[in-house]
Structures are given as C-alpha cells and as structure tokens.
C-alpha cells in the first residue's frame, strides 16, 4: 500500500507543482504569443504548435501513467493507485481531444486539409477511443473490485496494442499515400524553440498537478460513498 505519509507529502507538494507549472506556462505563452516574431511562410499559425505539441506529449504522459499504474494495481491491489489510473484516463481524454482538435486547426491553413491519415493522428484518435472505452467500462461495471481489475487489464492491453496500431497504419499509409504531408521534420528556428521548451516543461508539471488533484478528488468521492454506505456492497443487485 502507498503509505499515508507518502500521500501527505505528495499532497503538500502539489501546490508547489501547480504554481511552478502556471509560471512556466505563463512565461511560455508570453514568449510564444508576444515576443516571437511571425514566421515568414506560415504567418501566425505556427503559434498553435505551442499548445498542440505540449498537449500531445501530455496525453502520452498520462497514458504511460495509466499503464504503469494499472500494472502496479494488478501487482499490489492498491486502491489509491486505482484512483490514479481513473484520474489519468480522464486527464488523458481531455489532452488527447484538445491535441486532435488543435492539430486539425493547425493542419487546415498549413496543408489545406482538416484531417490526414497520418499514423500519428490515427494513433491519437485510437488512443482517444481506448480511453473513452476505459472510462465507459469503469462506469458500467458495478462491483468496485472487478471494476479496478477489468480497467487495469484494458489499459494494459490497449498500451501493448497501440504501437502495433501505429506501425500498421504507417505501413499502410506508405503504400497508399506518398509522404507528401509529414508531421515530422518541421524545422524550427531557435527563436521559436524557447517558448516551446517552456510550454513543454510547464505542461509536464501541469499533468503531474492534475493527476495529484484528480486522484485526490476521486479518492474523496469514494470515501464519501463509503461513509454513506454505498461502497461496501460487493455485488450490486
């Protein structure tokens, strides 16, 4: 079990993490929106990158947390870690959807298309579907212990499958559509890189902060249900 003292220490640090993440994000936004000059070819549109790329990395971070937490849960059956997994899935849905939408908004002026069957975009869409399926599974299972186990199993098999999905779409795409549009290898001038670094650090800290407070919120919700006597029935009728 994760000890109460460790949880207390994490909770105390969450305020600091939140403050630091806010600081980094504000500086990153200021540098990115106010200080960085417009790009010669892309105009203003490259600024979307400052919010799209960090959010995409944030969604991957939360999915990795979900996977590691699920493995830990199956090993140790720690209830708090199960709350962490549930929290990570909710946060993952948020960041993945925003990453997909902002990516689409970026693609339209840049490549004149709202969507392209790029392996990364498709993998992100499938990641979103896996996370939504995960949350729905947790909603529909009535027994709390089974819910945690089933959700952990789903997270693990989804994590194992996602790289296979990525590679299969990549092979399929090289066969059917030449790589005229590539989300890789977009060269970045140094003046544009600094705001991105700030935003990446800030968003990573933000994900940690969100995980901490969302886990806390879910833990409190379960505690309340337990106190109200709703939690302890193993099999709901």
């Amino acid at each position: 079990m994760i000890s109460a003292s460790l949880r207390g220490k994490l909770w105390k640090w969450s305020g600091v993490i939140g403050l630091l993440s806010g600081l980094f994000i504000f500086i990153g936004l200021f540098l990115g929106l106010v200080v960085a000059p417009p790009d010669y070819y892309q105009g203003e549109v490259f600024r979307i990158m400052y919010v799209h790329v960090p959010f995409a990395k944030a969604s991957l971070l939360s999915y990795i947390t979900l996977f590691l937490g699920s493995c830990f849960y199956l090993w140790k059956k720690d209830f708090i870690v199960d709350n962490l997994c549930h929290a990570a899935a909710g946060i993952g849905v948020f960041f993945t959807s925003v990453a997909l939408i902002t990516g689409s908004i970026w693609a339209k002026p840049t490549w004149n298309t709202w969507w392209t069957w790029d392996p990364r975009l498709v993998s992100f869409a499938i990641l979103l579907l896996i996370l939504i399926g995960y949350l729905m599974l947790r909603t529909f299972v009535d027994d709390k212990r089974k819910e945690a186990t089933y959700a952990a199993v789903l997270a693990i098999i989804g994590f194992v499958d996602l790289p296979i999905v990525y590679f299969s779409v990549e092979w399929w795409r090289t066969l059917h559509q030449p790589m005229s549009i590539s989300t890789r290898g977009v060269s970045i001038a140094p003046g544009m890189l600094t705001p991105l670094i700030f935003m990446m650090i800030g968003t990573s800290l933000l994900v940690s902060y969100m995980l901490l407070i969302r886990t806390q919120m879910l833990y409190l919700r379960h505690l309340l249900e337990a106190k109200q006597g709703g939690l302890l029935s193993e099999e709901s009728s």
């Binding site: 499938i126 579907l129 098999i157 194992v160 499958d161 092979w171 399929w172």
Partner: protein, 225 residues
C-alpha cells in the same frame, strides 16, 4: 497435464453445445450473408470497382460477424452462473482462455469457409487457385480478432451495456488486424507474388502472438477470486 486437459474440455464442451443447438453458427452465417448482400446493394459501381473493393467488403463482413459471435463467448457461463465456478476452479485460468479461444477460432473459421464459395458465386470471382492463401490469411486474422474478442467478452459479458461496450472496446484495438487482413487479401486476390504481401502476414502473426500472450497472462487476474 491439467493445463491441456482444461483446454480440451472447454473446447469439447463448447463444440458439443454448438453441435446440439447449432444456434451460433446459423445465426452468424446468415448475419454475414445479410451484410454481404447489403454491401452489394450499397455501392452502385461497376464490376471492376466492386472487385477492387472486395477485400474490404469481405473483412468488414467478417469483422461484424466476429463482433456478434465473439461477444457471446462467455454468455452461456453467465446465464448458468458458471463464472464463479470458473473463478474457484483450481486450474490455470489462462487455460480457460485458450480453450475459449480455440472454440471461437473454430466457429469463425467454419463460417468463413462456408462464406468464401458464396463470395465466389455472388461476385463472380475466380479464386479457386487462391483459396489456400486466402484461408491462411483468414486463419491469422481470425486468431487475432478472437484473441482480442475473447478477452473483451469476459470483461463485458456481465454488463448491462454489453452490446455497446464490446464493439466499442474491440474495434479500435483490432485496427492492425483489419489493415493486415485487407492488404494481404488484396495481394492474394490480385495474384501478386507472396513476397509482395508477406509483411502483412507477418504483421498479423506478430499481432496474434503478442495479444494472445498478454491476454493469456491477464486472464489470471480477471478470473481471480
């Protein structure tokens, strides 16, 4: 060797109940037939375009049929209150998974073997020489779909929203199966040499291996009492 005995017994039980009632196989077969018929009416295109679409049509039909068939893998156990017995049985739970998996593969393969000649008839395709490679591709893809489907079946079969949750979980994760199966079937049907679609078959094989091993491992936790 209780491990292989368990697999054998579960397979035998499922096959026996299927042979006696014949409900799964007939419903799956007629469902697949309906899907194929609807597809043939849905696209008002010429014969050659239809042939180009054929691998996709075949695998969409088989995919929907799998959703129907695999979703009820554990339904008989739930209806007869056997899940708890499975949980307390002192056998490796992975063997239960493999037994169910074998049963599902057998069921789906029978449906597919009956359907391929019907495809030949309805769409006027001359594929007699290609049947062996088509069957190998079908087998690999069916193993992949069944591996995922058997696992998700035990996760969703006791839920109220079983019919919605099962496809929702299965379809995103089975994208590699569909891509690999369609591409390999396309290669086989157009008579390309094996080397040109070899990597799709390898993709299916790797997918099957990984998913079966992980699901086999996970079953121990799912049926843990």
């Amino acid at each position: 060797m209780p491990f292989f005995d368990v697999i054998k017994w579960i397979l035998w039980k499922d096959m026996l109940s299927e042979i006696r009632s014949r409900e799964s196989i007939s419903s799956l077969f007629f469902f697949a037939l309906n899907v194929i018929l609807i597809f043939s009416f849905s696209f008002s295109v010429g014969q050659d375009v239809m042939l180009a679409l054929m691998p996709g049509l075949i695998w969409v039909a088989f995919g929907f049929t799998s959703i129907l068939g695999l979703g009820k893998s554990f339904l008989s156990e739930v209806h007869n209150d056997c899940i708890a017995y499975l949980q307390i049985a002192p056998v490796p739970k992975g063997a239960i998974y493999l037994g169910k998996l074998a049963g599902n593969i057998l069921l789906m393969m029978v449906v597919e073997i009956i359907l391929y000649p019907l495809f030949m008839i309805f769409f006027n395709m001359d594929i007699l020489a290609k049947i062996p490679s088509l069957l190998i591709i079908s087998f690999l893809a069916t193993v992949g779909l069944s591996a995922l489907g058997t696992l998700f079946s035990i996760l969703t079969v006791q839920l109220r929203a079983r019919e919605v949750m099962f496809p929702l979980l299965l379809l995103p994760l089975s994208v590699p199966v569909f891509i690999g199966a369609v591409e390999a079937t396309q290669g086989a049907l157009s008579g390309d040499p094996y080397s040109s679609y070899r990597h799709w078959i390898e993709l299916l094989f790797i997918f099957d291996m990984i998913i079966t091993i992980v699901s086999f491992w996970m079953f121990e936790y799912i049926l843990d009492y």
